[in-house]
């Protein structure tokens, strides 16, 4: 078996699996199964990215998406405790019209990529790099020279996301003995402590 044929078999196999599990994500009733199918879809797409020789992003997809974001999704699904399994809405008339529009968009995009733009797209196959080529090095060099400002902005976006997510979901408990900081700062010392001038008292009844 030639390596070219093997790559094609891998592409069609994992592409079909990715699209099939994508369909399962949107059509399965149970939300936990839906999230697990999404994890499976991420793995398949990561393999396709590997076939494109984008190793760094494929590994980042598995580590960050499957390892962090999807675990967050599963945490939220299990925390919300959705008991009743909602019926799927494929039957309603509104949804039918929307799906029809989606199918029309699909046909149009396929025609665009399949026929109209075929002469303008680069038709040659992927240039395979040599063994000494490092995808991580190339991305790192570009990221930390041309795009270093955007990289820092991305870091700030992540910080804002952390603060926003914590502030939205924090729950004030009534039994909590937390002190209100702004009330504490605005306390006037005169309200709490008063110096009184008064005459010295006599002794306790003893003759001097």
């Amino acid at each position: 078996m030639s390596p070219e044929l093997l790559i094609q078999i891998l592409f069609y196999l994992f592409g079909a699996l990715a699209i099939g599990s994508g369909m399962a994500v949107v059509s399965v009733r149970n939300t936990v199964y839906s999230a697990l199918f999404l994890v499976f879809c991420f793995f398949n797409v990561a393999i396709l990215w590997m076939l494109l020789e984008a190793e760094f992003l494929a590994i980042i997809l598995v580590l960050v998406y499957v390892g962090a974001v999807m675990v967050l999704f599963l945490f939220v699904i299990m925390m919300l405790d959705i008991k009743k399994v909602t019926k799927s809405q494929f039957k309603s008339g509104y949804t039918k019209a929307a799906l029809l529009i989606a199918a029309a968009m699909l046909v149009e995009l396929m025609m665009l990529f399949g026929y109209r733009m075929k002469s303008q797209l680069p038709a040659d196959e992927l240039i395979r790099q040599g063994e000494s080529y490092s995808n991580v090095t190339e991305i790192g060099m570009t990221l930390f020279t041309d795009y270093v400002y955007a990289f820092e902005v991305a870091a700030v976006i992540l910080l804002v996301a952390i603060v926003a997510a914590i502030m939205l979901t924090i729950r004030k408990r009534p039994e909590n003995k937390q002190i209100d900081a702004s009330k504490q700062i605005h306390v006037n010392p005169a309200d709490r402590f008063r110096v009184v001038s008064m005459d010295a008292e006599k002794g306790n009844g003893e003759e001097s």
Binding site: I7, F11, A18, I19, G22, M23, V25, V26, S27, S34, L38, C41, L48, L52, E53, A54, F56, L57, I60, L61, Y65, A68, L72, F73, V76, L80, T86, S88, Q89, T95, A98, A102, A103, M105, L106, L109, M110, F113, G114, K118, L121, P122, A123, D124, L126, I127, N135, E138, I139, T142, L143, D146, A150, A154, I157, L158, A161, A165, L168, T169
Partner: protein, 102 residues
């Protein structure tokens, strides 16, 4: 016939339309809508990587890196809003969020 850019474009179109149909069809459950959004971003990222590799310019992959960052932030904030919504409404139906009707 070997794999060309066209194959990857058609693959990501199919994935994009599947997830767009998922957003249209799942109005009972916002969680599935959020997951469909992740799938949508994934197909767009596949497009970016395919173009970047076949044209031979690494900038597309750097852009995918930023899209992944923003998508992670979006998922975190979206899920936080969802938890707040469920605490207040006890429901995940998109049709129940209609208090701000104008």
């Amino acid at each position: 016939m070997s794999l060309t850019l066209n194959h990857y474009l058609i693959f990501s179109t199919l994935l994009f339309m599947v997830s767009l149909g998922g957003i249209f069809a799942n109005r009972r459950n916002i969680l599935v809508v959020l997951m469909s959004l992740e799938l949508l971003l994934l197909s767009v990222n596949t497009n970016f990587i395919a173009f970047s590799k076949f044209i031979g310019d690494v900038d597309g992959q750097v852009f995918v890196f930023f899209i992944l960052t923003v998508a992670a932030a979006e998922a975190a904030i979206g899920l936080a809003i969802l938890v707040m919504l469920y605490r207040n409404k006890k429901s995940l139906d998109v049709d129940d969020i209609n208090e701000l009707e104008g």
